[in-house]
């Protein structure tokens, strides 16, 4: 009985569900950018509360914005990589973050709207 329970618990912990459990998207308005510390402070509103979230950029994390494809015959959008320091207060961005200790760590930030 104990062996069976242990096996099931291990199976759960190793499952893809558990792997994605700590990853979630957030969106908000850029309040401040610290390119040196590789952090981004966002004003995030959820459940009626607005609060500041400091997002730490993972080493190698990308910051992208989207532009219309200009190549002939291509339509849609293309990613344009920008640096963290290019982000300006007031811009709306989204990020997929993970909890790492007490930090929110992002491996990608997408610009939703430049203001």
């Amino acid at each position: 009985m104990k062996k069976l329970a242990l096996t099931m618990a291990l199976l759960f912990l190793g499952s893809p569900a558990a792997a994605v459990a700590d990853e979630a998207p957030i969106s908000g308005t850029v309040k401040a950018v610290d390119a040196g510390a590789q952090t981004l402070t966002l004003n995030v509103t959820a459940k009626g509360k607005t609060r500041e979230v400091v997002v730490h950029m993972k080493p190698g994390a990308k910051v992208v914005k989207f532009a219309r494809a200009t190549e002939p015959g291509k339509s849609g959008f293309v990613e344009q990589e920008v640096s963290l320091g290019d982000l300006k207060p007031g811009w709306i961005v989204s990020a997929t973050t993970k909890h790492e200790g007490d930090k929110e760590v992002a491996d990608a930030v997408k610009v939703v709207m430049e203001k």
């Binding site: 009985m1 099931m8 994605v20 459990a21 957030i26 995030v44 009626g48 959008f77 997929t96």
Partner: protein, 414 residues
């Protein structure tokens, strides 16, 4: 032994539940409350537009005008598609990672439920408006960047994704007023009738063979308005009437109602439901969508009530021939009173001005001012908006209020 027998399946159920719970990405993980995401349609719940947007209906022609749609496409392509997608599927590259996903504009039923004033509100205010702000909407407000016409154009282009070709109005999409229709059936139908023509089974018995009768929503004569004579009421006017009810001298069935209301107050009804039922009532009259702009009568701040002002009002009361109907002392017994009829030919009483608690349009000084300048459409009470200046209107308001103790107290409270 027995515990052991069923503990295995119980453990399996518990672990499965835990796995499913953990497998669903939590809302904003950074949220200390661990708020769940609302990616489903509920995140884009079509709540009624607030009063300040409720009259912002899109002109019927905008939905099908080729030039407007082309202009909308141009704007959509540059400003909206990055989130909403070129195909309107809500899968633009910047939209896919948002906590509250952009809606799929190809969703026919979802679009059909959306009223034009709601849509205009959403485009104008974006995620800054509740309840979308609380849900973490990243939608920018466009009212500062796009003109009203440009916002209509974007909506007209977005509308094409749904595959519907006609104007986006309740007559084409009854789903958009379904909630209001259900409330109407429970709360209004008995007096106002199934088609809103004022011919419900109970209505006529409220004051038999006399005015007032329940309003015919399909006609253009609405008594209680803040709009100039001859126009339809604003949504705020309808909201005020639904909330406060209508006071009157009453009839046999109103004896027990507090304040002699011939229409009850629905103040107890949640605000959202009152707005829903009003949208249904508006859907009974296409003119609400055909009028381009609602202009309301401005009511200047009430000046203090002074003896001089009341004396001037008394003179105006005589000069404007108010006494012909309302009588020299305001009792509603003027020489013309017995002959008064409303637009449907029913006898109508001149209001007894000594009983402000029964004034249909309210008894506050600003209510009387509004009644004077807009008149009461469909009744013999004319609009004095063109013949009285604001100061004169206030003089008359204070004189009328001076005819009763309650009125004097209401005036002194200013």
């Amino acid at each position: 032994m027995r515990l052991r027998y069923w503990s295995l399946p119980a453990l399996a159920v518990a672990l499965t539940t835990l796995g499913v719970w953990a497998g669903v990405p939590s809302g904003t993980r950074a949220d200390p409350n661990g708020e769940p995401h609302d990616d489903a349609k509920g995140g884009h719940a079509h709540v009624p537009a607030p009063l300040e947007y409720a009259d912002r209906h899109v002109p019927l022609s905008a939905w099908t005008d080729a030039a407007t749609i082309a202009r909308g496409k141009e704007i959509y392509t540059t400003k909206c598609a990055v989130c909403h997608g070129d195909a309107g599927d809500g899968k633009g590259p910047a939209g896919v990672a948002l906590p509250l996903k952009p809606p799929d504009l190809r969703d026919k039923s979802g679009i059909a439920e959306m009223r034009d004033n709601y849509w205009f509100w959403r485009v104008s205010e974006g995620g800054q408006a509740e309840p979308f702000k609380s849900k973490g909407s990243a939608m920018p407000p466009w009212k500062g960047e796009l003109s009203v016409e440009d916002r209509w154009a974007v909506m007209a282009y977005q509308h094409t994704f749904s595959g519907h070709n006609g104007p986006h109005v309740p007559s084409e999409h009854p789903e958009s007023v379904r909630v209001g229709r259900d409330i109407y059936a429970m709360a209004c139908l008995m007096c106002h009738g199934a088609d809103g023509k004022g011919d419900g089974s109970v209505g006529g018995t409220l004051s038999p063979r006399r005015a007032p009768q329940p309003r015919d929503f399909t006609s253009n004569a609405f008594k209680l308005r803040s709009t100039p004579s001859g126009q339809l009421p604003s949504t705020a006017d309808l909201y005020r009437t639904v909330s406060e009810g209508i006071r009157a001298a009453g009839g046999p069935l109103t004896f027990g109602l507090r304040g002699y209301r011939i229409m009850p107050s629905f103040r107890h009804m949640p605000e959202e439901q009152r707005l829903e039922v009003i949208e249904y009532v508006k859907s009974l009259n296409p003119k609400f969508w055909e009028q381009r702009e609602i202009k309301t009568v401005a009511i200047p701040p009430a000046p203090p009530a002074t003896p001089e002002r009341i004396a001037r009002g008394k003179q105006l009361y005589a000069d404007a021939e108010c006494l012909a109907c309302h009588g020299a002392t305001g009792r509603g017994d003027g020489p013309s009173a017995p002959t008064l009829k409303d637009q449907s030919g029913l006898r109508i009483a001149a209001t007894d001005l000594r009983q402000p608690a029964r004034f249909k349009n309210g008894a506050r000084p600003e209510d009387l001012y509004r009644t004077l300048v807009t008149g009461l459409a469909g009744t013999p009470m004319p609009s004095y908006g063109d013949s009285l200046g604001p100061d004169q209107a206030w003089d008359l308001v204070y004189y009328v209020l001076s005819l009763s103790g309650d009125g004097r107290r209401a005036a002194e409270a200013r």
